[in-house]
Amino acid sequence: MNKRNSKTPVFLKSYDKTKYRYEKLKVCKKCHAFTILGDTTCPNCGKPHLIPVEEQAERNAKHAMHTTVLIAVCIGLISILLSSTLLQMVLCGIASIVLIGVLWIVQRNVLDAECLRALDKLFHANEKNVQDGIIHDYKAAIDNWDTDKQRCYEMLREISTLLHNDMIRIRQLTLLQTFLLRKDMDLELEPLLVRKYEPVLVEYIGELAKIKRDLIKDRTFQYIMAYEPEIMGQEQGRDILTAVAGATVRMKHYVRSYSGLVRRYAYNLPKDRFLRLYQMIEQYPNEDWGRLSEEVMRIYTEKYQWDPDFQQKGQRGHTI
């Protein structure tokens, strides 16, 4: 069966990128379990007590501040109770109110800093709980591996916000390769780059090079170049390398940085990609393109010399 036909069309949920990764994490108010997947229901105790970790940190910070104020009030009250005259009582009362007022104003001004401090403390005091929570989430995601691949992928994508390892990346890539990928999907590439040669990643890059070239950036080009011989030996390896070489012509920087790769696969580039490459080299004749400009000129002469799309540039083309 055609490989593409065996893929499932899916509508992936969009991925909410947060400014800080910890913003994805939630904690249960009751059992202090952490999760990145739950909405309101705690995966550990099943009760609807999940709140964002920042909210929990704010609660903790405020709780500590209230305790401090309470201690101050108690000391103030003791001083009033121990007063022997009415004047002493009034003086102690006024002094207590002023001091507690100062404390309260200072607390209001430092609330943000105290909340961040409480957040840091929350993570450090619950290191094991955080780790267990993420492992629990990972297991919950893998439970869907056979039954609901889309759900499994979406869960792994959330977990990979905090968990960075090649195992989870390869799992995600394997799932992505079972989906019919489309341009409008919320896809990612750089977070999925693994450390070693991985055919499933190369296939994914090959697909993105056709439907979402803008995701292919420096790290991906470097990965492809590092494993070029292995990719060549892979099924459709040459097509993938050609598609990636075609993705470089988006920017001059890429063509110049990876000119070796572009040169080796320029011959098989689709016409529109080659035209763009040809125009770029023509537009910047003083740029150091290495042997790429000679190769482009050779291909132009061999394949496109009489092509009307190249004609308007034809005359100048000979000067490359």
Partner: protein, 49 residues
């Protein structure tokens, strides 16, 4: 007399707390550092990229 002693204690308590808050604020942690520490907690050094 004891009443003034306790007012003294309250004064010291408030001063110490204010200095502590000021110190925390001065050394303020930024969210990016907390984020990095959390990633460090969950991933081996090799995987933190």
């Amino acid at each position: 007399m004891f009443a003034y002693v306790f007012i003294g204690i309250l004064f010291l308590f408030v001063i110490v707390k204010c200095i502590q808050y000021g110190w925390h604020r001065k050394k303020s942690l930024d969210p990016a550092t907390i984020d990095k520490a959390l990633l460090g907690m969950l991933n081996s050094e090799r995987d933190q990229a």
